[in-house]
């Protein structure tokens, strides 16, 4: 007799349990969708959780207006194929209406503007639980984050007021006006995510795979050449076409691209596992700027 799940199936079972728990315990959940692999995984898991019914809550995308066009195309296709309802919160609209002020200069970014638009959308939709695709392995500070993370009526996280989580018992009780952020893939690592997406053959945005694109270098990071970035003359002069791919997907203004030949998910898994080793040899600058960028995104998003 052998009743054994492999580690990916066990992670999947845990995440599905938590997603169903959200649907059962909350009145108006919403799934925060950023377009990256973690939120693609979340949508996939949510589909599995409620099959053959549709996902019983909408997806919420905060569109900065600076997305890669591929991200938006992928999002719309995904939404259509899973039959989900999509809500888009637009940073551009907030700027046009004078609710937000655009940053200026070479490093201008809309990351910080996202937070307010997100909070406004959550309030507008009266959502009491927002599902997010954050993982505990992303950074030290996240190592203690709960699956069910309690927020007060101002949407704030109080580290002292987080509830202990034991066994499979999740306490989503709250008073009117409070809400929860819920992180069903807390226990997944980056490598788990890639392995699982490969095992499940989940289609991914083309940005994750090597493709030719005009790029230029800024402070050790390659950026995609686009109209949203103000370039210095020497940067403009140095624009050239390279084989690159994205390791994370965010705004064009701040998402670094990487020289790579990875054409399949299996290639990416290889790259991610090898990257761990060569990184030990000393390419710290790249790594650091990458996580720094993720962090900024996360501050806004989670």
């Amino acid at each position: 007799m052998s009743y054994n799940l492999n580690h990916l199936k066990e992670l999947e079972a845990e995440s599905i349990f938590i997603i169903r728990e959200v649907a059962a315990q909350f009145e108006r959940p919403v799934l925060m969708f950023s377009g990256g692999k973690d939120s693609i995984l979340m949508v996939h898991l949510a589909r599995k959780a409620f099959y053959p019914a549709n996902i019983p809550f909408p997806l919420l995308h905060i569109d900065t207006g600076h997305n890669f066009p591929e991200t938006i195309a992928y999002r719309d296709e995904l939404v259509a194929s899973v039959g989900a309802r999509l809500i888009v919160g637009s940073v551009q609209e907030a700027i046009d209406q004078g609710k937000a002020v655009e940053e200026k200069g070479f490093n201008a970014s809309r990351n910080y503007l996202q937070t307010n638009v997100l909070l406004e959308e959550l309030e507008k939709g009266k959502f009491d639980a927002a599902l997010g695709g954050a993982r505990r392995d992303e950074e030290k500070a996240r190592a203690k984050e709960r699956f069910f993370s309690h927020r007060d009526e101002f949407g704030q996280w109080d580290p002292k007021n987080q509830r202990p989580e034991l066994w499979n018992l999740f306490n989503g009780k709250k008073v009117f006006g409070e809400h929860f952020r819920v992180f069903p893939i807390s226990n997944w690592t980056e490598l788990d995510v890639w392995m699982y997406l490969a095992m499940e053959k989940v289609p991914l945005p083309s940005l994750y795979f090597a493709h030719k694109r005009p790029v230029f270098e800024r402070e050790g990071t390659l950026l995609a050449d686009c109209e949203y970035i103000t370039k210095r003359p020497e940067e403009q002069a140095a624009v050239e076409e390279k084989m690159v791919r994205c390791r994370t997907i965010g705004d064009m203004t701040c998402t670094g691209v990487w020289e790579s030949e990875a054409a399949t998910i299996e290639d990416i898994i290889k790259e991610v596992s090898i990257a761990r080793k060569t990184e030990r040899g000393g390419r710290t600058d790249d790594k650091r700027s990458e996580t720094a960028m993720e962090d900024r995104k996360k501050q806004g998003y989670f």
Binding site: E10, R20, E21, K48, P159, E165, L166, N171
Partner: protein
């Protein structure tokens, strides 16, 4: 490349007194299993240098908790991850300080293995007993005692054997059946990932080898069928017009298509028509799978109900005795009312009686002092508003556990193990 479809998941918790070397050991496991990114390593190397120490202080890799302890911020369970080609590991890292019984209990609740550290120079201390007791109370299936800092006792066999004997002398009274002892030096790396050349007298496995190979296939209960209904799936589409699926996670036993089942609380019987998943029908479902059950008869189950086998039912009772570990500054109120969460049920209860408070160092049952405050462990009698479908915690950690919620603050104030 790793055959990632054949990796297993193992969860373990670490416990030790302050300075026994827990952070160093975790750092060593992460580092030697190549789970550290260069930037993390570089940051640690630099802070080691800033502190004027030699080499690289691996303890700084998991520094988060310590810094907080110094600043007096809430101390808590932190989760860390690493993997080898055989297994993915989730570490529930809990601070060892005396007041944090509640954190250890939290970390232990889902663990397959408890790792207890002992400083070879100090041997078994009060905290060791406490940790071993919590591991047994929480029914962690496997216990590994790491006798650390062997380098400081000249790697002597006698030091190790003496501690082993001391530990066994008190642990035989505890409900732990699988205990392993490993002499290590977290700092030097002896017997952590690589076998030690300094302790030829030790014939056992290294810590990592143990963690990679300990048999966890029987950690769940595969005998007593329990399926708490979590959510009812009713697609409003033409294609699935009559579909009524009971979604949930198998809490015990192996369910097969065609099995005759009994439904609680109604007591009606039916047969499993289909066990459904997004990836298609499955023939059988076992813990910890998340599946959707379809029954042959049109019965109206809802969240909190349970699907079981007719000839093997759980206890169905409103009067339940539990060992409770209290988590809140506000003490447990006798005659007080609390909400409790049990499987997918959400009911209310009244604390009828405190039978005794347990001194977790001496295991003495104190029937006089019934003031149950934060970090105390006590045996209590509760009465619930609706019957709980439960097993003893010893028999099944899923159907035997409850949490207590204070209805005025919504905080989780206690964890209970049903006796």
């Amino acid at each position: 490349m790793t055959d990632y479809k054949n990796m297993e998941l193992l969860r373990f918790t670490t416990a030790g007194s302050v300075d026994d070397g827990k952070s160093t050991l975790i750092g060593r496991l992460l580092y030697d299993s190549k789970s550290i990114f260069e930037d993390q390593y570089e940051a640690v190397r630099q802070s080691t240098e800033r502190r004027g120490e030699e080499g690289v202080n691996l303890a700084l890799l998991t520094d988060g908790l310590k810094a907080e302890r110094e600043q007096g911020i809430t101390i808590d369970v932190a989760y860390r991850y690493f993997a080898t080609p055989k297994r993915k590991f989730i570490i529930a890292d809990t601070p060892g300080h005396i007041q944090y019984t509640r954190n250890m209990v939290t970390g232990a609740s889902t663990a397959n293995v408890a790792l207890i550290l002992i400083d070879a120079r100090h041997g078994v201390v009060e905290q060791t007993r406490r940790h071993a007791f919590i591991a047994s109370l929480l029914q962690i299936p496997h216990l590994v005692v790491c006798v650390n800092k062997m380098d400081l006792v000249d790697y002597k066999e006698e030091a190790f054997e003496r501690i082993k004997a001391d530990f066994e002398e008190f642990s035989y009274k505890l409900d732990v059946n699988d205990v392993h002892f490993i002499p290590i030096s977290a700092l030097m790396g002896d017997n952590v990932v690589d076998k030690s050349a300094n302790m030829p007298w030790y014939g056992g496995s290294t810590l990592l080898y143990y963690l990679e190979n300990v048999h966890i296939g029987s950690d769940y209960n595969f005998i007593d069928c329990r399926f708490p209904v979590q959510y009812v799936i009713r697609p409003n589409t033409d294609e699935y017009h009559d579909y009524r699926g009971y979604a949930g996670r198998v809490a015990g036993g192996v369910f097969k298509k065609g099995d005759k089942v009994m439904l609680l609380p109604s007591g009606f019987t039916s047969k499993i028509a289909k066990i459904d998943t997004f990836d298609g029908e499955v023939e059988e479902a076992y813990p910890p799978m998340s599946v959707t059950m379809l029954l042959e008869d049109d019965l109206d189950l809802s969240r909190g109900d349970m699907i079981v086998r007719e000839n093997n039912t759980p206890e169905i009772d409103q009067d339940v005795e539990v060992m409770v570990c209290w988590f809140n500054e506000r003490p447990l109120q006798v005659r007080g009312k609390y909400a409790i969460l049990h499987t997918t049920q959400d009911v209310r209860c009244i604390i009828k009686e405190v039978r005794y408070k347990l001194d977790i160092n001496s295991l003495h049952r104190n029937e006089e002092d019934k003031q149950i405050g934060m970090n105390d462990i006590a045996r209590v009698v509760i009465r619930t508003t609706k019957p709980l479908f439960h097993d003893s915690y010893r028999k099944n950690r899923v159907t035997g556990s409850v949490i207590f919620v204070d209805e005025s603050t919504n905080e989780t104030v206690g964890a209970g193990m049903i006796i």
